[in-house]
Amino acid sequence: MHLLKKPWIIAVGVIPALTIYLIFSILPIFISFYYSFMSWNGFSEMQFIGLENFKEVLQDSVFWLSVRNNILVVLASVFGQIPIALGLALLLNRKIKGAKFFRTIGFMPVVISTVVISITWRMIYNSEYGMINNFLDAIGLGFLQQNWLGDPTWAIIAVCITIIWQFVGLYFIIFLSALQTVPSEILEAADLDGASEWQKTRYVVLPSIWNIILISVVLCISGSLKTFDLIYVMTSGGPANSTEVMATYMYGKTFEGLRYGYGSAISVLIFLFSIGLILITTKLLRRKEV
């Protein structure tokens, strides 16, 4: 650490990053607050309308449906990705032939572009030519076939499965590297005491990676709140709004309905909702830790 005599040098070093960050990441949040009080279609004169936009959003049942779906996506991610990833990581955390191969394939979906994943899964779910329906047919379970993305009850489930598939690998690898930090002396001591594998896992391994599990839960929540691309490409929120999340709802209203003020109000709500949910979970999880 050094103390510089000329503080302007520090300013010169920090200001470029700070400027870009302020203008293109922080400023938009304030812009959305400002425009959320306006009625504006992008061309004609802007009009101040107070809280009208918010009133309208909060009275729109489609908005509440999108909030519910957002929560569903978060729940599916947390209760799908984390347990599956943890279980697999525990299984792989031993001397096993091909461990590297399992890791490589396990992480692969995480690096693939969401657009590629969405289009691929759209075809997998396709009712006529899709992999799933053809597979069900081939094993004689044809009666289980569904129009996965075309049926309002199945569509959101299908979307959630794809989301789980996309990110299990991320937490799988995070847990695997956390497991490697568990001190082997403690495990050997437990071995000498005759602890079974389950006991070792329950009383030694899980407690020592508990922090990482909590961090992963927070990451998983903030990550799944960002769901937009996947649903936009797979279903655009349809059929009949059944897969609408807040971001797709916002996109539709703003850019298809040309209502920038209304869209800004939804943006503000998304922002508050996301930050609120993240703050609440960090608080709750922290309390548990103590």
Binding site: A17, I20, I29, V115, M123, W165, Y232, T254, F255
Partner: protein, 290 residues
């Protein structure tokens, strides 16, 4: 005596059998996971080499003849070459700016003591929590005011801004771990802070820089939402946007879609296989260190 030997033998045989059973079960589970992860991708690639007709009656199995019509069709109708160049250009320029200004800021944040240093660092890192899709509408408004809509600048700046938090997080913690003595002799020799940054700190940070570069690139390469909102011209489209539009237009030509996806996917997967270690590090380090 001989009885006890036999006994001991059967016990160990049983134990071995049990152990073998356990091992096979573990392998089986890991194998199922791997198939679930890899098969959808494999299915898509296989079918991209079939004619539309063959795909419709045999969506499983290898192609009878490997045909490339789909590739020709996707390449000609979808401008994949131009999307590719756009993605490459935007991704590399944004990553270059982000690393340069991010490394400079990280240098001052990690190697100097000044008032508000921790606050400033916290302000940068909190950007990890800003939900991207909450900024789509205000970003559109902002870019329209700046006259950047339908230019690559409209993508470059947000990409820099949204990658700065993780870049600064990774680089600051890495640079902060160098001992203080590093700069001392350089200061004695009369080197200024920028000289020290350029010829000592930056070269020493190579491992963290590599991680940050790769992470930036993957994020930019896969980004879709900003491109969707800010680019409205096919000639300027990046790969994810162009691909989504192509799949929307040729929504019933499944095999051509698959060919387009495969062309985009193969470079990503090759890049992943070559750089696996850095990619995995970059994407999981935030969690493990956080």
């Amino acid at each position: 005596m001989s009885e006890s030997v036999v006994n001991y033998d059967t016990v160990s045989k049983n134990a071995r059998k049990k152990k073998r059973f356990k091992r096979s079960t573990i392998y089986l589970i890991l194998l199922v996971f791997t198939i679930i992860n890899a098969y959808p991708i494999f299915w898509m690639i296989m079918n991209s080499f079939k004619t539309g007709q063959e795909f419709s009656f045999d969506p499983f199995g290898l192609p009878d003849d490997w045909v490339f019509v789909n590739y020709v069709e996707a390449w000609v109708t979808a401008n994949i070459g131009s999307y590719f160049l756009n993605s490459l250009f935007v991704g590399i320029v944004a990553l270059f700016i982000c690393i340069l200004v991010g490394a400079l800021a990280s240098y001052f944040l990690s190697r100097f003591q000044f008032k508000g240093r921790n606050l400033l660092y916290g302000f940068f890192v909190v950007g990890l929590l800003v939900p991207i899709h909450a900024t789509l509408v205000p970003m559109f408004i902002l870019m329209q005011k700046l006259g950047f809509i339908n230019t690559h600048l409209a993508l470059i700046f947000p990409y820099v801004a949204f990658n700065l938090p993780i870049t600064i997080f990774l680089l600051t913690s890495f640079m902060g771990s160098f001992p203080k003595e590093i700069e001392e002799s350089a200061i004695m020799d009369g080197c200024g802070p920028f000289r020290i940054f350029w010829s000592i700190i930056l070269p020493m940070s190579r491992p963290a820089l590599a991680t940050a570069v790769i992470l930036n690139f993957i994020n930019n390469w896969n980004e879709f939402s900003f491109a969707l909102v800010l680019i409205n011209d096919d000639a300027l489209s990046t790969l994810p946007l162009g691909l989504a539009n192509f799949a929307g237009q040729y929504s019933t030509n499944y095999t051509a879609q698959m060919a387009g996806l495969t062309m985009v996917l193969i470079p990503t997967i090759l890049f992943y296989l070559v750089m696996e270690k850095q990619i995995v590090n970059g994407m999981t380090q935030g969690a493990v260190k956080g």
